[in-house]
Symmetry: C2
Subunit: 152 residues, 2 copies
DNA sequence: ACCAAAAACAGAATATTTTTCTGTAAAAGT
DNA sequence: ACTTTTACAGAAAAATATTCTGTTTTTGGT
């Protein structure tokens, strides 16, 4: 499962644009179609390549507000954690949720239309969860960088 | 540029899997190829569809540590901010960087192999930036949710 | 209400891309 | 040294995207 330099080149290209054709890639790395095809299939099978997705413009979809929620639970038990995790998975506004170290238990990233929708989300969806004790909100004022590209 | 229900169905599918074929989509929403093709092209032209990317498994690539960095700048001036922003764009470990409200100025998300690499990143790449005054690190213990899918 | 224009769609033809197949050369294992 | 495996190239086949033609529906204006 070790990646050689050719695998890395392929992954670097595909991370940037999932619509590069095999020919595009083959040309860029000076190979024929066959090895490129075989390697991509292997990378998919091995799960290095997780999936191909389409990224949409959140603002053009009307999502003009991004916030981080720092959530503290009522208890730090397994059951409490699991209950919270399950609830979060059903909330589409929550695009990231991580259990973290520090002064709070979870860091959430929320993408939502505006302050009014956030108010509603906060009051009716998040703070109502029985596991939630405290929510500290950090508002994003300006996005500097956002990438799905991992360094290889 | 208003999206009708058909556009939304197409976007919902493409968000999940950029490799759905036009035929796949056409079947799922009971249309022929032509309207699906035309709509996708329009959504691309209008920038609703931003790009198609490949998501890789960060752990299989050896990135076993995710951290949030809460950064405070030395000054809140425009020049300081811009200088910091530019530096961040060149750091591949930083996958998110947002200017935020609250007790600190920036929230960063860092994906990195291990604690040792984070130590190096913190000491040699982040804290050395002239605009940086304070760094508070929040370690991710466990990832609960991470999605590129926006609610439509 | 009527007409012209535009938009949305279906089906077929074409071009491009992916996938499979065949074979060769290099590398690895015994 | 020999076999097996791996990596690759080129070509054929299959699948997909793109373009073209034409019909129906919708829209906007009079």
């Amino acid at each position: 499962m070790a990646l050689d330099e050719i695998d890395k080149k392929i992954l670097r290209l595909l991370q940037e644009d999932a619509h590069y054709t095999l020919k595009d890639i083959a040309n860029k790395i000076n190979l024929s179609l066959t090895p490129v095809h075989d390697r991509v299939k292997r990378l998919e099978k091995d799960g290095i390549i997780e999936k191909y997705v389409t990224l949409l413009d959140k603002k053009k979809l009307g999502n003009n507000l991004t916030v981080y929620c720092q959530v503290t639970l009522t208890k730090q038990t397994y059951d409490t954690s699991e209950g919270f995790n399950q609830s979060i998975l059903n909330l589409p506004e929550v695009v990231e949720c991580n259990y973290v170290s520090g002064n709070f238990d979870y860091m959430l990233k929320i993408i939502i239309p505006d302050m009014e929708s956030y108010h509603h989300f906060h009051q009716k969806k998040l703070s109502v969860l029985p596991e939630v004790s405290l929510i500290n909100t950090v508002f994003v004022i300006s996005e500097v960088k956002s990438t799905t590209v991992l360094p290889i």
